[in-house]
Subunit: 206 residues, 2 copies
DNA sequence: GTCTATAACCGGATAGAC
DNA sequence: GTCTATCCGGTTATAGAC
């Protein structure tokens, strides 16, 4: 992997991402972003006009990652097994790679819920395929009758929440054990998958 | 329930809670809190010296609610059924009553993780009783072998996350259905309990 | 205890030299 | 494109009258 030297714009984006995630839109300082990028504060305005515009840019990029990933999973899933497997592994894979995304979204979900929901509605993201799979499997009597909305929320909750609660899991729950947070997260996909399968399938499948 | 007229300090706390929750520490403005309380901005400083101190006061009170509730559940639980039942119902009950708590904590979890973890460690909160119950039930072969850390995280995730994701659940997932977010949350306890029981128990208990 | 006025500071944004 | 210097609005915090 050859690393081309980062140009200023890239440096700014990377620095902005880091600072905005940690501090949120309101807590972030343009000076802090400039320092992080190792450039002059004025350059931020030269490249992105305003703090708001810089934030929007960074935020939509992050949010888009989530949308595209979810969409790709929903699009290819054939049955509940593959859907669950794909969804959990990809979701957690993405969050491990870019753990900032969760904080980012939750940080801003209250500040500007309308914008976020708008971005979701404008995306092609469509859970109806998942709904259909659940309905089919239920008709085949492979799975217990589950409310599809609660089921989706369950899956997402189990994947996302640990990243949000990282400081508590790390500093309190796992404190004094020999398990690191990274190890915990590494175990998560199989833990979630077996948990959900047991909850879902009428016949034990393990 | 006789309502004694609120004194200024109480008015401030209530207003501060509302504003801090909505905007976070950084986004909140002392003027905004004063307006919300219907008092003069200087009075905030008269009663609480600084924005930081006011915030700390409001935050620890909210956080304490969570700690005490969790603790009381852990303390009384006898077996896994009662623990699950108590935990889910009380947790969601608390969050319905004070939905701001989740946002509050998540909002600040990154801003100051050390402080939050410190507060937890200083509390008497102790999950070891829950660990013991899980181990006992596993020995009795009533439940599948589960990792206790993942199990706790699962329970909390399923309870808390929906409140965090409210705007998305309301504005996207349930959009176009005739289910309101409140109805969704009302269904949650029994949904979670049956989901977790199915995942957990070797014999089907419904 | 409550108010008005103002100090002191900070941070986003711009002007203009290089 | 990049830097220095500066403006200007907004925000916390205090002083002091009532």
């Amino acid at each position: 992997m050859v690393k081309t030297p980062e140009n200023t714009e890239e440096k700014i984006i990377r620095a902005a991402r880091k600072v905005f995630i940690q501090k949120g839109m309101d807590g972030a300082r343009m000076q802090g972003i400039a320092d992080e990028a190792g450039i002059n504060k004025s350059l931020l305005h030269y490249y992105f006009r305003s703090k708001d515009k810089l934030f929007s840019r960074v935020f939509s990029e992050a949010f888009n990652d989530i949308i595209e990933m979810s969409d790709s999973v929903f699009a290819v899933a054939e049955d509940i097994d593959s859907l669950l497997d794909e969804f959990v592994k990809r979701y957690i894979g993405l969050l491990r790679e870019k753990p900032f995304i969760t904080n980012f979204i939750i940080h801003e979900i209250n500040r500007n819920p309308g914008c976020l929901v708008g971005q979701m509605q404008n995306s092609k993201l469509d859970p109806s395929r998942l709904m259909k799979i659940l309905a089919d499997e239920k008709n085949n009597a492979r799975i217990r009758p589950v409310d599809p909305y609660h089921f989706i929320v369950n899956m997402v909750s189990l994947c996302v929440f640990p990243f949000l609660a990282k400081p508590i899991i790390q500093g309190f729950l796992l404190d004094g054990t020999n398990i690191s947070f990274d190890e915990f997260i590494e175990q998560r996909p199989e833990q979630i998958i077996s948990f959900v399968k047991n909850a879902l399938f009428i016949k034990n499948t393990d």
